[in-house]
């Protein structure tokens, strides 16, 4: 260690850029949110325009809030705090700028492509493949810039905020890449490599952990920096930080299947999803406790300081949402809540309460420091806080009421449980309309709060001089080798060895045969006892090892990766191996005809999955309403799967043949003509657009690569096949005076809808597909 004193100027320019982008995209994302919430109340707000319909704008809302709003906020907070926590300027100004402008370009590309209907059809993973590659590249830029900065740090030991940033960077990279694996059919379209139940599992491994590692861990890191700074109090407990960090990153990954409870997902995965979600409760609350208890001795400051008000409320909402999550993961609770507004309320208490308020607190704290001028108006910041709080409470309370009401109505039966009490789906929808309106009001108030913050921001920084932080430090060449952990010491030490043994024995117990189960159970118990005994007698070695881990960034990163990778590997690999046609029992899907596939692509393009599920759960009310419960094999060839997550409209898994073609023809043009009271948008453009037949040949080739058993067809054969089926449908429509040319998109969509629920029965273990 040299004792030469050097002066460092932080790169706060990129922090300011990300901060302003947060403000801008936050308002855009929330504005779209208020619009889509209004569309659910007033269908005319879809304006009969393709690029303004709910199905295309809802993905824009979710992507904007997650990746544009929280993304930019995260980058601002990570870059500001990391430079100060490691006492080093960001490694590369070029990479910092590339990161900023690259990310904004991605957001603009998303904002253009999503309304135009270019989508992959998977929630929060809708962006098309060229943008996916850009996201991955920019994320790598972020990672390089971050880890390079760590490598040049003048502070040997890593603070807890940095741990969470490391977990964020490596886990999001892993999740994003795996869930976006696709084979392109054109520059703008691709099919995901996974299909059916496997795609569902990968999607929710990603979706759930996007919540965990994009919306939670980076924000926890930000909390660990900005909250003690603002409160001027020490963090409550380092020990709690250690335990809740490692347990959080290990357990979170396993909980994804709780999005698929009571579905065709194999039962062992459902059980893992539910039980690990319950185990996640305490680790999540560890973060809440460390945040709230850090405020001890500073609570009086909440009266005057809007920053602390926002932080205290945000951490409280975090605690509420992470209690609600495990509750909703209990299978019987989920039977009521899944597909309902309760889930929407749950994510918004996280997004509005936790993410939005952390962002607001951080921005109010940073503004005076980055522009060297006091906040324009503390009064307006307080007004923002109260508008936002009332907005969230209205929103969340409305969604609880709405979700539970509709869930109870949909599941209610009469006449001894044999008949649905509310057979008409629209009765349940129209009962919750007042609550849906209340949601618009709550969300609107929240948006007004952010507009006030934007005004406050502009007034604060207008004419102000941007200022970059500086610090004088003793430069240090490197951490002495004897302090750092080598490869062996990283892996072979009491905490890691006992954790690995415990996980190994747990897997042997869960997945082994009858004999191995006993071995696993006893091995696990003995490991646990030995670990406790070892910790009781030699706890200082555990603590000393962790201290050394904190000066070894590479070792820390490797162990974090191992912890987050374990759960996914154990859940996904068996499913990938098993999810093959020859393994399907009971029922197996019939591949779509080329015209049906074209119709399916239209279904995906219009975002029908945002309101309609294709998954009849193993529950009597579901079966009474929609038909026999869905089997795993029935969606085997679905790339992407379309099981859905919210039923604003009824399930469509077996809608094929339920009505005739004429019904669909009338319904898509004017949903209220067949279904009075519906809030579904009309789709007039389907009656004028011609079906894209030219691309089908290439699409079928890609499907064949993905093991969908299509016979080889020449482009001419594809065309002939499409023309023949389209003609049949057009002629069927003619009988009831519904006149259309057979080459219109509505015909392809009807072909797809009318075959939903078609399957072949197979004998166990002898399933073979006829070509």
């Amino acid at each position: 260690m040299s004792d030469q004193k050097i002066s460092i100027t932080y790169n706060d320019r990129v922090v300011r850029q990300f901060l302003l982008a947060t403000m801008l995209w936050g308002i855009v994302g929330m504005l779209v949110g208020v619009l889509v919430a209004s569309q659910l109340n007033f269908w005319r707000l879809n304006f009969n325009l393709p690029w303004l319909t709910f199905g295309r704008l809802r993905p824009l809302h979710t992507n904007a809030v997650i990746f544009a709003f929280v993304g930019n906020m995260m980058f601002a907070g990570v870059y500001y705090s990391t430079q100060r926590l490691v006492k080093a300027r960001l490694a590369s100004d070029f990479l910092s700028s590339l990161h900023f402008w690259g990310w904004q370009a991605i957001i603009v590309a998303a904002a253009i492509t999503l309304p135009l209907g270019f989508t992959r059809g998977k929630e929060y993973a809708e962006l098309i493949w060229p943008i996916n590659i850009a996201v991955a590249l920019i994320w790598v830029v972020f990672a390089v810039n971050f880890f390079w900065t760590l490598a040049r740090r003048n502070e040997p030991s890593l603070y807890v905020a940095i741990w969470f940033y490391i977990a964020t960077i490596i886990t999001v990279a892993m999740l994003y890449i795996v869930n976006h694996l696709s084979i392109p059919t054109s520059l703008l379209h691709s099919y995901p490599v996974f299909g059916g139940v496997q795609d569902a599992l990968v999607q929710w491994w990603y979706g759930h952990n996007a919540v965990a590692f994009f919306l939670t861990t980076p924000i926890l890191g930000i909390m660990y920096y900005f909250l003690p700074k603002a409160a001027e109090r020490p963090v409550y407990s380092y020990r709690l930080s250690v335990i809740h960090f490692w347990s959080l990153v290990f357990v979170y990954i396993w909980a994804g299947p709780h999005h698929l409870l009571n579905t065709a997902l194999p039962n062992w995965l459902q059980v893992l999803g539910m039980t690990f979600s319950l185990m996640l409760w305490a680790p999540s609350w560890g973060g809440m406790l460390n945040g709230l208890l850090t405020l001890r001795g500073a609570w009086h400051k909440l009266r005057t300081d809007p920053v602390l008000k926002f932080f205290a409320a945000a951490v409280t909402f975090y605690g509420m949402a992470t209690f609600e999550g495990p509750l909703l993961s209990i299978k019987s609770v989920n039977a009521l809540a899944h597909y309902s507004d309760w889930i929407i309320g749950h994510v918004h208490s996280g997004a509005l309460g936790w993410n939005g308020f952390m962002a607001a607190g951080m921005i109010y704290w940073l503004l005076p420091r980055l522009w060297n001028r006091p906040l324009h108006s503390v009064g307006l910041a307080n007004l923002h806080f109260w508008l936002g709080t009332v907005g969230i409470l209205l929103y969340v309370a409305a969604m609880w009421t709405s979700g539970i009401t509709q869930g109870l109505m949909l599941n209610a039966t009469t006449e001894g449980g044999s008949v649905l009490a509310y057979p008409n789906f629209l009765d349940t929808l129209n009962t919750i309309r007042p609550m849906m309106l209340m949601r618009v009001i709550g969300g609107g108030l929240y948006l007004v709060g952010f507009l006030i913050m934007a005004y406050n921001l502009v007034r604060t920084i207008r004419g102000a001089q941007p200022v970059d932080g500086t610090i004088e430090v003793f430069a240090r060449s490197a951490v002495p080798a004897e302090e750092r952990l080598g490869a062996a010491a990283t892996l072979f030490n009491p905490p890691v060895v006992f954790s690995a043994l415990g996980t190994l024995f747990a897997c042997v117990w869960m997945f082994g045969g009858p004999g191995l189960q006993i071995v696993g159970l006893f091995g696990g118990a003995i490991s646990a006892i030995l670990a406790v005994a070892h910790f009781a007698t030699r706890g200082t070695r555990w603590a000393g090892w962790h201290e050394r881990l904190l000066v070894s960034a590479a070792s820390f990163t490797v162990l974090t990766f191992v912890a987050v990778a374990a759960g996914g590997l154990i859940q996904i690999i068996p499913t990938v191996v098993v999810n093959k046609a020859q393994n399907m029992e009971d029922r197996i899907a019939v591949p779509y005809t080329p015209l049906e596939l074209a119709g399916r692509d239209i279904y995906v393009r219009e975002g029908c999955y945002n309101c309609h599920s294709q998954m009849i759960r193993t529950m009597v009310p579901d079966v009474l309403r929609y038909g026999d419960y869905s089997r795993m094999g029935e969606s085997l060839f679905d790339h992407p799967f379309q099981w859905g997550s919210r039923r604003s409209g009824p399930d469509l898994a077996r809608v094929g043949g339920k009505y005739n073609a004429a019904w669909h023809f009338v319904h898509m043009a004017d949903p209220r003509a067949t279904s009075p009271g519906s809030n579904m948008p009309a789709y007039p453009w389907l009656y004028t657009n011609r079906t894209d037949v030219a691309s089908l040949y290439g699409k079928l080739n890609v499907q064949r690569m993905l093991a969908v058993p299509y016979p080889a067809m020449s482009p001419a054969e594809v065309q002939a096949n499409v023309a023949a089926q389209a003609k049949t449908i057009a002629e069927e429509l003619k009988v009831t005076q519904q006149l259309t040319a057979p080459d219109r998109e509505i015909v392809a969509l009807i072909a797809y809808l009318q075959r939903l629920g078609k399957y072949e029965t197979v004998a166990p273990r002898t399933a073979a597909l006829k070509p």
Binding site: P234, R239, E415, G417, L420, N424, V620, W663, A673
Partner: protein
Amino acid sequence: MKSPDSLPPASPPPGEDPLRPHTYDGIQEYDKRLPNWWLLTFYATIVFWIGYWMYFQQSGLSTSDGAKIDRHLAQVEAQKLAANAAFDDASLWKMSRNAVFVDAGRATFNATCASCHHATLTGGIGPSLVDAVWVHGGQPTQMLKVVNEGVLTKGMPAWGPILGPKKVSEVLAFILSHHTPPADVALAAK
């Protein structure tokens, strides 16, 4: 639990808890014990996982979701079969002259059937129900079968499983109220 502290605490102000020696950009850390209730919650959820997995995946005592719902559905079907057996042509005609049944049937018809058969029963997407043409048989029990089981090839959904026998019979009463019963039934109904 024993304290694993290995590092000497920085000297805290009197009456304050010990702080960790390190500060990061001015941020200090206490090293307080984990709250017992928090630890117990964590342990309890782990024990629950072990017990839940053993019961549902290994003990052989639980029934699978598929088996469970198949049993429930068998009960539902048995109830419906028993209820449907009660209807014959004469009783359905009789119901069609009863204002209570007809009014209840009208409500269900308007909510469920009118989108295809029109509120005036004159037809649209589906055929007319007030003319003399009965594509699938004009006896009340034949019509009941059509409503219950649907004619899937023609786009008529099976309403029995959704509406249940009571509502289906009411709808039928409403439809029949637009028609005149045959002489023998009409006499019996009086």
